[in-house]
Symmetry: C2
Subunit: 350 residues, 2 copies
């Protein structure tokens, strides 16, 4: 018996590349092409240096309240964490303690099975339909918990609130996590269903629509009962997860509603344009309601296009996984970046 | 069966109060009375706003390298997290997966049993000696893991490196975590033992000696094998734990060695002075090598002194726990704060 026998063995999630070329176009990790609100900059410049010597507010009250006010919900319905990954990990730990498997689609955010393995939660996946949409019946089986990414990743497909409600109705004995990382790019949030479903947890992030992947802020919205359970777990893990800097910067970002609307609308417009350009060049893709498009080419293999783009300093995401290994996940950049991307594609496909 | 049956039930750690009075003296959560280095301010003022839209470096290379260089170890021996609580939580999850109980003293950092409960790790505690020191024999029993806070909290007692080595020698089949949150205030770090003990994990923090509790930075130093295991767990939990702001600020803090030496020496001098002042007023305490003193008064009950101080806007920490419920944990403030504290004590004890 050695200490090595007691080390937890895990197969970690592989994040997208973070290349450090001086000139590159980064369309591989679904970041926002625009910087955060100017209000964030102001707040960061004006931080009170003396405050850093003190522990930050463990209740994160300022940011929790700003998010709650923005959504029009009570602040005891909001939980904040270090990016939505932290929030989802805490939610898995808090709510998925049944002997029955939790369920989610085979093709979805690839962190779900990683968390299940880490926390030793049994899980079962089901296949998507041929068009990558989800058959709601697959969510209507006996289970220990439900996770639904809506819009789904990496497909980009948004399922209607009627679909989400069907899942909730059929799973009254399980907590249903709806992971809405991309909801601000066109979908309707399940937050509007919270009053009617006490088993619902909605998770969102500042990393996409608020241009703050670098600050690490995510949040959950649920009933006060479920939020309290998550906070109990949080206080049992790390009382002070959010730095003074991130609390202040996050609050400033939430409060600048105008900038938020402007940038998310720009991303949506660029995406709609990109759909046309991709179609012109022989790509097909499920209709996306996110800040990325999951596309396949009728002739040229995705893996080849991926490598050719990389040679030109353009990074998109390629998943070498059965069923989706002929697809590229292309993050929506600025109009200028997309032009360079399409110019490169024209070269590659010529 | 309801979703409520599968919610994890925990008794969370209770952090010290974070009162928000405009005028108060805060000697209750072992924070540093001095602000962080001016270099931290410069770096925060100069952050590239455009970088916040991108995910930060998941490998945290810049900060890891700065810490490693500062300690004179290879950078594959360093793991960085969101405060030492995050680092310790990850270490518990990574290394304590035996059916045998992990062991630590009954009176120590009160988060250890909370993490054990959270992760369902069996644990066993043992009593301190009457003088609050640890009998090394209590660490020399069959176990699934060892945690030693050195200096210990809330006692402030530092055990020698010979003691730590004795623990390591007798626990070759367990990972031994040495939690050195307060080591910079006078002790010798067990990092010097790393080359000889492959089962050793040393954990330190920026929250005390580096005045950065508000930024949330902690780290572990261990063999590349153990650091890799921790990183695998981290990547399975949250790939991006450290924000761009905290990576930059942390690096600036580590690199300002002069300021670090100045402020920690000031705290040590104030502490030694405080010991004399406490003795004069009828307090006794174990000799402290930390930035706090754990003191009891020969006549007046700790709980009463605690309340009287609070009325005067002076916050110290009181643990209502058998064996230590007549003690106060007093964080070392500035000389000016300590003068006000002693003036208040004189009133209270008069």
């Amino acid at each position: 018996m050695s200490f090595r026998d007691n080390i937890r063995k895990v197969v970690p999630y592989t994040p997208g590349e973070q290349p450090k070329l001086s000139k590159m176009i980064k369309l591989n990790t679904n970041e926002n092409p625009y910087p955060p609100s100017k209000e964030v900059e102001k707040v960061l410049q004006g931080l009170d240096m003396d405050r850093f010597k003190l522990y930050p507010d463990p209740k994160i009250e300022k940011l929790v309240t700003a998010i709650a006010d923005n959504l029009g919900v009570a602040s005891d319905k909001v939980f904040v964490g270090v990016g939505s990954d932290d929030v989802l990990a805490m939610a898995f730990m808090t709510f998925f303690n049944s002997d029955k498997p939790i369920i989610f689609p085979e093709v979805t955010y690839s962190f779900y099975d990683v968390w299940a393995d880490l926390f030793k939660i049994p899980y079962k996946t089901f296949a998507l339909k041929d068009d990558f949409s989800i058959d709601v019946k697959d969510f209507c089986v006996d289970n220990g918990g439900v996770v639904l990414a809506n819009p789904n990743a990496p497909t980009g497909i948004y399922e209607s609130l009627e679909f989400v409600e069907e899942v909730l109705k059929n799973n009254k004995d399980s907590v249903v996590i709806v992971d809405e990382a991309y909801i601000d790019f066109g979908g309707n949030s399940a937050i509007s269903l919270l009053d009617r479903y006490e088993n619902l947890v909605v998770v969102q992030t500042f990393s996409k629509s608020r241009s703050m992947a670098g600050m690490r802020i995510g949040f959950a919205v649920a009933s006060p009962e479920l939020i309290k359970a998550m906070n109990d777990v949080k206080y049992s893990y790390n009382s002070y997860t959010m730095s003074y800097a991130s609390i202040e910067a996050g609050t400033a970002a939430v409060n600048d509603k105008e900038y938020f609307e402007q940038t998310r609308n720009k991303v949506i417009l660029t995406r709609e344009e990109a759909k046309k350009e991709l179609t012109k060049r022989g790509f097909t893709f499920p209709d996306s309601m996110t800040n990325f498009i999951f596309a396949t080419h009728k002739e040229k293999a995705a893996a080849d296009i991926f490598e050719e783009l990389k040679k030109r300093g353009i990074f998109v995401r390629y998943f070498n996984k059965p069923g989706i290994d002929n697809y590229l996940r292309i993050t929506i950049g600025t109009d200028e970046q997309m032009k360079e991307f399409f110019d490169a594609l024209d070269e590659i496909l010529a």
